[in-house]
Amino acid sequence: MEHTKFTPQSWPDKPEQATMEGKNKFVGIWIFICSDITLFASVFATYLSLKDKGPAGMEYSAAELFELPLAFVMTMLLLTSSLTSVYAMYHMKNYNFKGVQIWMSITVLLGLGFLALEIYEFYHYVHDGFGYTQSAFSSAFFTLVGTHGLHVVIGLVWILCLIFRNAGRGLNLYNAPKYYAASIFWHFIDVVWVFIFTVVYLMGVLG
């Protein structure tokens, strides 16, 4: 199957679902996402119950710590990266490998930008004394946002691996489902971020 030469016309309209392995990966990534839903639900719920809770006389609180402008920029970066990955999949449907590689690379760059801002934010907190072990609230905050950050790192490594491994191979029915699964994972990361910026940052600032 990797030796079949495709033209844009013979390339299937849903390349990620054209083989049995492709269908399996398609269903599989969704079921994996379902498990991730309950993972994040548990971490979120823990955060909500421990918000602002700490040792007596603790001066840190969500309302004072979180900066909305930074959260807004990070959100814009991640949301845009979600769009660029959709665009990459559009190119995949049209058998335009170069388009896939370029737009996935842009997705990675935006994701790296998000990550850089998040690391900056964490460094800033730790520097101010709000570290992982400071209180229950801090442990919960860093675990929740950190777990999301870890998923971002995994997503970026995944997409980078795809970009590099396939650079010489081109698009075929073996790697099309892989790109698709990675993009679904990337969208899910953005979905979780929507809840994080709403529940952690926006509701945090409201007090």
Partner: protein, 629 residues
């Protein structure tokens, strides 16, 4: 890498084959072996506990050792014995039952096994490295956080690795059952074991992540000074209980639903009658799965949630009894009016129905929160869950061993030895646990290493321990049966029990590595029975002509990835001790795992093709001229 089936292999080559296999049939055997090993270990731990409790004020084991025994007994039995044994059957049977060649992700299937095994190994190393965990299988934060030594750390890390393996396998089975059914097998024509495995796998997918989170929080609290459960820093110990039981309650349904599915296969075969009420069985299974997520706080009635919360969870818990009862009635109606053949699997099924119902009704009793205030943490609870676990799950496992042994090993377990095993084990089981209901009602608390004499508990504890000895004898007989069968003559037949109804019986044993040579066409529920009764002596109608078969490659990478996590766990474990090598070892372990993942991703792995000539040759080699029609 083709024609693997037909060549004779040396010992080294066989070992390598099993270390690298992605074949669901071999993995099923490996799960069964590993599960039996851990079942024996956990059973031995229980025997030691019962010897300690045989007489009052006994000093057979110390209090600390007793705590380790009770923790390891529970943890091992549930996570490392019952789950892998059931996975063993799921692996061995489901692809055959749905007419597929393997599961959706054979590589991940292997990874799931090795993660489970290495996590289990890690946990058991605790016995040799300073002491096993001792805070109960439930590991409540208040006790677990302050447990000295590394026991609880072994628990956290071992279960984290093992649990990841289980989650991977759960996702694998869902995708397999959704996408890889043979043509004609709609959802409502799937065998009940496949249905229950689908719902079980869905429960695994949704329930294991909260456990992962809980274990992570416990890990960072103990080893990295986080503050989730420490109330002086704003934390709350009840968070552990919630996370644990949000996992823990679905976990028991993860264990019992495959058992139900196995009995739904066994009973129709030996009653020679179609399963009664198929649609309602499917519906009941789905309902049990759904409700299983809504009842977890019935393990927490006495923690002070308040009357409203207690009431809600009490009602939801009682509601689960309804679909479960539906299933019991359907089994009874299947047997009623059938031409019943009492083989060993059927004996286990007949023993299961009253035993499980007894366990179920004591469960409904405990669902009443006010009564649970009296019964919580007493032997009544212990009696209840052993009735559902042993009466439900263990009988299913033992019965299915007999039932599926011909397919898995091309041998039969001895009926005579099996009947002896059944009766000795069954009598021992009731002896041990029936009496414990009364111990609980008389006020004996659970998880105590000894008790004072002359409280009225002495005789009952003594009888309970005698029962444990009987169960041990039964298990020894079962192991003997297994060893004897290894030396018996191969069966080389189709449909060993004669009354097989589903696809797995349509294939002649030993099963070729590619399963069916042509994908079967499913024309109804109980597809093989249908074919038999249409006069089709040759097995199944096929959905495609004989053609090239595409099979997955073996790989050593799953084992390497699992070893990486095992190594990393050691690094994490010794970090709080201030060992300088701890963090480097942790990083090394993670690097091995991630490195193996990247290697896996970088290569193309397209599997191999089995050509038609090889298929014909394999079939002739296995079945003689004419092959397996």
């Amino acid at each position: 890498m083709s024609s693997v089936a037909v060549s004779k292999k040396g010992f080294g080559a066989t070992v390598w084959d099993y270390l690298t296999t992605v074949d669901h049939k071999k993995l099923g055997v490996m799960y069964l072996l590993a599960g039996t090993l851990f079942f024996a270990i956990a059973g031995f731990e229980a025997l030691l506990m019962r010897i300690q409790l045989m007489v009052p004020n006994n000093d057979f084991v110390s209090a600390g050792t007793f705590n380790e025994l009770l923790t390891m007994h529970g943890t091992t039995m549930l996570f490392l014995a019952a789950t892998p044994l059931l996975f063993g059957f799921m692996n061995a049977v489901i692809p055959l039952q749905i007419g597929a060649r393997d599961v959706a992700f054979p590589f991940l299937n292997s990874l799931g096994f090795w993660m489970f095994f290495l996590g289990a190994l890690f946990l058991h190393l605790s016995f040799f490295l300073g002491g096993a965990p001792d805070a109960g299988w439930t590991n409540y934060a208040s006790l677990a956080l302050y447990s000295p030594g590394h026991g609880v750390d072994f628990y956290v890390l071992g279960l984290q690795i093992s649990g990841a393996g289980t989650l991977i396998s759960g996702i694998n089975f869902i995708v397999t059952i959704i996408t890889m059914r043979a043509p004609g097998m709609t959802f409502m024509r799937m065998p009940l074991f496949t249905w229950t495995s689908l719902i079980t796998s869905a429960l695994i997918t949704f329930a294991f992540p909260p456990l992962t989170v809980g274990l992570f929080l416990m890990l960072v609290d103990r080893m990295f000074e986080a503050n989730f459960f420490d109330h002086t820093m704003g934390g709350n110990t009840i968070i552990w209980e919630h996370l644990f039981w949000i996992f823990g309650h679905p976990e028991v349904y993860i264990l019992v639903l495959p058992a139900f599915g196995l009995f739904s296969e066994i009973i129709p075969v030996f009653a020679r009658k179609r399963l009664f009420g198929y649609s309602s069985m499917v519906f009941a299974t789905i309902l049990i799965g759904f409700l299983g997520f809504m009842v977890w706080a019935h393990h927490m009635f006495t923690t002070g949630l308040g009357a409203t919360a207690n009431a809600i969870f009490a009602v939801a818990t009682m509601a689960i009894a309804v679909p479960t009862g539906m299933k019991v009635f359907n089994w009874i109606m299947t047997i009623w009016g059938g031409s019943v053949k009492v083989t060993v699997p059927m004996l286990y099924a007949l023993g299961f129905i009253p035993s499980f119902v007894a366990g179920g009704v004591t469960g409904v009793m405990q669902a009443a929160a006010p009564l649970d205030y009296q019964l919580h943490d007493s032997y009544f609870i212990v009696a209840h869950f052993h009735y559902v676990i042993v009466g439900g799950i263990v009988t299913a496992i033992f019965g299915s061993m007999h039932f599926y042994w011909p397919i898995m090993f091309n041998r039969a377990l001895s009926e005579t030895l099996g009947k002896w095993t059944f009766w000795i084990f069954f009598i021992g089981f009731h002896c041990t646990f029936f009496i414990q209901h009364f111990l609980g009602l008389m006020g004996m608390p659970r998880r105590v290493f000894t008790y004072q004499a002359n409280q009225g508990w002495d005789l009952f504890n003594f009888i309970s321990s005698i029962g444990a000895i009987l169960m041990a004898i039964g298990v020894i007989l079962l192991v003997l049966n297994i060893i004897v069968s290894a030396k018996s003559k191969p069966l080389n037949c189709r449909d060993y029990w004669g009354d097989g109804r589903s696809l797995e019986w349509a294939i002649k044993t030993p099963v070729p590595f590619y399963n069916f040579k042509q994908t079967p066409l499913v024309r109804g529920y109980d597809p093989y029975w249908l074919e038999k009764h249409e006069g089709n002596e040759e097995g199944m109608t096929y959905a495609e002509p004989l053609g090239e078969i595409h099979m997955p490659n073996n790989s050593i990478l799953p084992l390497i990835m699992s070893i990486g996590t095992f190594v990393a766990a050691f690094g994490a474990l010794y970090h709080p001790d201030g060992k300088s090598w701890a963090i480097p070892v942790l990083i090394l372990g993670l690097a091995i795992t991630v490195g193996a993942m990247i290697i896996r991703s970088m290569k193309d792995d397209l599997g191999f093709h089995v050509h038609v000539e090889e298929i014909v040759a394999t079939e002739e080699h296995l079945y003689g001229k004419g092959g397996n029609k």
